[in-house]
Symmetry: C2
Subunit: 378 residues, 2 copies
Amino acid sequence: MKFDVKKAVLVEGLTKVSKVIAAKSTLPILQGILMEVTEQEIKLTGSDTNETISHCIPVDGENVKVYETGKTVLQKQVVDIVKKSRKEITFTLDGFTTTIRSGKGEFDLNGLDPEEYPKFPKVDLEKPTLVFNGNQFKDFIKKTAFAASDKDTRPVLKGVFCDIQGDCIKLVATDSHRLSRVTHKTSNSADIQLVVPAKSLENAIKLFDLDYEVEVFADNGQLLAFRNGPTIYLTRLIEGNYPETSRLIPSDFKANMRINRKEFLSGLEQIYDIANASDGNTKGTAKLHVNGEACLSSHQAQTGKGRIDIPYESLEGEDGFTISFAVKYAIDSLKALECEEVDFKYTDSMRPFLLSPSSDTSDLEEVQLILPVRTIES
Amino acid sequence: MKFDVKKAVLVEGLTKVSKVIAAKSTLPILQGILMEVTEQEIKLTGSDTNETISHCIPVDGENVKVYETGKTVLQKQVVDIVKKSRKEITFTLDGFTTTIRSGKGEFDLNGLDPEEYPKFPKVDLEKPTLVFNGNQFKDFIKKTAFAASDKDTRPVLKGVFCDIQGDCIKLVATDSHRLSRVTHKTSNSADIQLVVPAKSLENAIKLFDLDYEVEVFADNGQLLAFRNGPTIYLTRLIEGNYPETSRLIPSDFKANMRINRKEFLSGLEQIYDIANASDGNTKGTAKLHVNGEACLSSHQAQTGKGRIDIPYESLEGEDGFTISFAVKYAIDSLKALECEEVDFKYTDSMRPFLLSPSSDTSDLEEVQLILPVRTIES
């Protein structure tokens, strides 16, 4: 193996694949980066067995010149060495030792046997199951993944449920206290149900270059693959049946309050300082009281109390209700909605309420559901 | 107590004094902020008993209008509440409850009894012992404080020794493996020796507005006070005798290598990735070998080895020596020096070497000393 490479293209690839490399791993070889050099490309791979990232740098004779093909597993120090190199770098492999030369510096890195690097199940990258515009993909994840559970008690709730039937894509996440759902009409067509770790999806959108499309390959029951330009991202799926959630979402309401999203968010963020101050049982809870006007309030015995009026645009139905909820959940939901105005849909102080955009766009429907908190009426 | 205040001036003061407030404190009242309102000023104070910050906002009738004087201790939530307020805020104290009104929000914060707030020893702020230009003060601290010890085994070494004799100010810090010293001729005159916690000095320069002068008040044997515009910073001094260090610094050398500081620094940072890779005994050690040319190298059994040639400007004296040292220490020292070229002054592979600017400015002399590491010659 011998090649010349421009620092910039190599740094990009190494930075991406090193994101999944753990400092400690039960398999020491997974602390390294697999480098495979052919006449077509330099392929870099990093993995923690749950997530695997590959990045290909094409051999174009300008950024990369290959004199001899080969492969090795490089120790993670390669990332910092390359980052601090000069613009032109030469890699040479001799036995298991890779020599990195740049400017007046020369580094001999002990390598590991590439034959010992774990083989991952093959995913067929011929025909994508689904194709998303980069920003659209990011948008769907940002609107749902935050609502997934971060607890191990019900592993399936740590995932985002992707339910694709015909031309309808539905993404759902819930931690059983709140639920986020987006429904989108696509031009593709498929019939697939799978649960993807929410953490992996959040990592994926940080990693991806959103100027490229995101192609999804779902023909393997254990793994899901994403291709984003030169980068391939593999994640294990979560096994188990995702709970039926459609019945949880109420469809008729006693009141619908239309409200400016940013005003509501700003009020919640202010009340959060009081609501979250105590470490008692009612941690993070505020009360919304609607009666001619809307007022958010919170009372914590130790810290004090706060109240803030929230001007609303319109109110249909019942005028005169009170509901308590976790402020953090409402903040998360309103941040995800991103629209100008939202509808606050109320049924009963003991039943979930909804936050949704006042005007759905034709091909995207989104719902944020939050369960109320029972409080002793004061 | 009742006053109107512009958000911007209050946020500045609260942000400064809250820097020393601990989330947990043995004295719960120290988790709060003392607010004293007179007809002249709003004075805010935060403290963790070792460090105390006060900030005064003058009553100018524009940014601040006082209707009623008073004092209270506010819970730390006040900082976030004020940060999220509108531009105009009204504070009203009733009993121990402070009401903060801004826009459509109203917050009642439970307060604590200001009479229970600890009284700190009075420091006379009439006549400063020393006055520094803000940037000069920062410069002196940045060139020395990093070399202080962070271990509790010898508390006095966690401080910076300030030795002022006549018009000569000397600052020294050492962790017994390296030493930094600046000597400065001042226009003031004093005769004081004291040991100031390095951490406090580093906090002070982050806190200070360097457009203002820094006045130092050293008439109290236990406390040192700094005044920087509207901000007063008090820190406890470290008790105990600082070791005599002047004899440690060699004055005659076998070799003096003049070298471009940035080139040397860049070489050290590259070699650091290899030197610091192993967690063995020789952690972080590199070797400088001079013989016609200068070469930095490091060898770690597990990771590999690196070498990098460092072009030097000139070499006086012995040409042919090798010395091993902790790369991190050399990096820290070179960063502190900030000049174009440095002198690497060598005596013996077992004796400390010096790094100093090739040309001292007339009123500032600086020395960075590093002890070599003994290694088995390979």
